[in-house]
């Protein structure tokens, strides 16, 4: 190979290399977008739980929403459930949790999540995944015929896994960030 060819190859590579490295380089702006995306998934779950628990939601709608909520979790993920009556925390698979939520023995159920925030920022792990922990506060209100029957506030922590994945859409390669929720642990239950 002539010296001239080597110079041309070097010039071409010097132009391409920064682009290739830039794609893997997660700038603060990009990281912020990923953080927001993960937090948004938790907020989406909050809305799904509210719809599933709402006694006004039809069975077909609740079933559809359960599927969407299920898709947010890693397979086999568990949800912690607590009451003021007992210090014990029971864990159910998310699918079972949603079905139990739908079948709660109240006339009306109101579930609100608030103060959703990271307690452990998304950090890149050696395997390339990002892992973080988000805390939420859940206000639960169960109404009977005579009015408010039970209420509590539960603090829960959920682990979030974010992984870059690759797929093809209509023949076009797409890199996307897959946000998966893990176990949801109860850390505190108190009266409202």
């Amino acid at each position: 190979m002539s010296r001239k060819s080597l110079i041309i190859i070097a010039l071409v590579l010097s132009g391409i290399a920064p682009v290739l490295f830039a794609q893997d380089n997660v700038t603060p702006q990009r990281k912020h977008a990923i953080d927001s995306l993960a937090l948004e998934k938790v907020r989406d779950l909050s809305k799904y739980i509210s719809i599933i628990g709402d006694k006004g939601t039809s069975f077909s709608e609740a079933s559809r929403v359960i599927k969407r909520a299920d898709e947010l979790f890693a397979t086999g993920s568990k949800m912690g459930v607590s009451t003021l009556a007992s210090p014990a925390v029971n864990y159910f698979t998310v699918d079972n949790y949603f079905k139990r939520l739908m079948a709660l023995n109240y006339i009306k159920v109101k579930i609100d999540w608030y103060s959703i925030h990271y307690i452990s920022d998304l950090e890149k792990q050696p395997d390339g995944k990002y892992v973080g922990v988000v805390t939420i506060y859940q206000r639960f209100e169960g109404y009977g015929a005579e009015g408010l029957k039970y209420t509590d506030v539960t603090k829960k922590d959920v682990t979030i896994y974010v992984e870059k994945k690759h797929t093809q859409i209509n023949g076009m390669p797409i890199d996307f960030w897959d946000v998966i929720l893990g176990d949801m642990k109860v850390t505190e239950t108190k009266k409202q």
Binding site: V19, K47, I51, R68, I169, N170, I174, F176, W177
Partner: protein, 181 residues
Amino acid sequence: MKKIVNNYPKKLIKGKRELNARRFLNILLAAVITGSILITDTGCKTHKAATSTNTDDAKAKAEAAARKKAEEEAAAKAAADAAAKREPYNRVEKYFQQISDAPDVNTANQTINSAMSSFKTGDIPVLIIIYRNGISVDYDQPTTISKYLNYLKDQKKNPNAVDHLEMDGNGKITEVVLIKK
């Protein structure tokens, strides 16, 4: 000399005077005619120039008007083309907003059914750009239009704008690319 002149016969003197007068008249006439010719000629030239200027002005005005009309027509056509191109985007964004703003599930479902007629199937892909910087683009997990419309209904929010639509030959949307607002 005076004496000599005075000695001329009167008739002769009278004839000379007439001759001088005629000469004077001839010169005057010639001068008047020349002047008239000059004036007429100058007048013609001025008129010619004025006529020519008027013709050029009219031609320039007509050309400018034609050019302006052509420009206006081109701008109107470009605006119409842009509006025609933008129409599906506006329609889809309007559906998104109506679904997320729907007062109840039934209304939202009716709007979803109407919206579905714009798409080839309920399974067409929806890509959501969460971050873009030059050639570097980050997406959320791809979904389908059916799931996305229900997402808007469930979440009661419309967090993404339409970035790009792929259409087939029948004007049906085959792919949706959204971007975070």
